[in-house]
Symmetry: C2
Subunit: 154 residues, 2 copies
DNA sequence: AAAATACATATTGTGCACGATTAAATCGTG
DNA sequence: CACGATTTAATCGTGCACAATATGTATTTT
């Protein structure tokens, strides 16, 4: 970028092209992940966003709706019906926190916790599909996190 | 990865963690882009996917629905209603190709073409928000494209 | 203690994404 | 020419994402 006299920043046409290519690449890669996971997740009856919720629950055990929303950048309008379906599928339980009844605590059922084992199989399949080694994956993860933080700071 | 005697491939726990972190990072960065663009696109009355469609039209002038779908990895079930809204907004025109009436050709109206100028303003705002220089953007774009191709090849 | 405020979640409505199905047009081959 | 296969869009149903709104609960203030 080149600074103009008035302190504003000029953006070249190449930069504009690059930026549109980047935002499309991110959009497109997210779709590609979704599609790659779909046939495998279908077998265990999960959608991709549901799988992401299960991932954080397998990690932490039980969490409030709000905390899940913070980890996944989703609001309650998205999570409420999604969690309702996971509850109907018998994978999670929902209960008001006795300490603070505004909060709903999401916990894994035995069935939901047991499903974690099946995930190893899922990841084996996808991990190979990425065609990335560990260093590449870590590098990409870090760059994307940095990008996300910058965009969120706005 | 370490090869087992039976020819299958073992994936370590660290790799599984990395992979889930990567697919979440992609998912999350896509949301971040979407949110960053939203307030600006609201002013010109476009959603983010609509903006991506307009991007390829500004690039190419006019395209068939199928071609747009290939560029954006979207099928007609997604594009048809989206294009219908762009048509109602007076930004594009839709007409059957006289050469092959199976195809619908999408073209920019004067209003739609004129909107391209406003996009420079949008990109100025977002480009700075990414906090990436050109080399970083290009690198990230290439890595994501490679990832996408690998996942699609499956 | 009562009112005001802030917070947590649910509800509703719109738009996107995708699979499955349908319908119409084209093409290939006999 | 005719028949079947393929291509291209549109339509329908389900689920995600989000804004706006509503409801109810806890905290703070008076």
């Amino acid at each position: 970028m080149t600074d103009k006299a008035d302190g504003q920043t000029m953006i070249s046409d190449e930069e504009k092209r690059l930026e549109s290519q980047l935002c499309f690449a991110v959009y497109s890669a997210a779709h590609a992940f979704n599609r790659a996971y779909k046939p495998i997740l279908d077998r265990v009856g999960l959608t991709y966003p549901q799988y992401l919720v299960m991932l954080v629950l397998w990690e932490k055990g039980c969490l409030s709706v709000k905390t899940i929303g913070e980890k996944l950048d989703l609001d309650s309008g998205t999570l409420s019906p999604l969690l309702k379906r996971l509850e109907q599928a018998g994978l999670i339980g929902r209960a008001r926190d006795p300490k603070d009844e505004r909060q709903v605590i999401i916990s894994l059922t035995e069935k939901g916790a047991g499903m974690k084992c099946q995930v190893g199989v899922i990841m084996d399949a996808i991990g190979q599909a990425t065609g990335c080694d560990m260093a590449e994956m870590a590098n990409l993860r870090d760059q994307l996190q940095k990008l996300k933080v910058n965009l969120a700071a706005e």
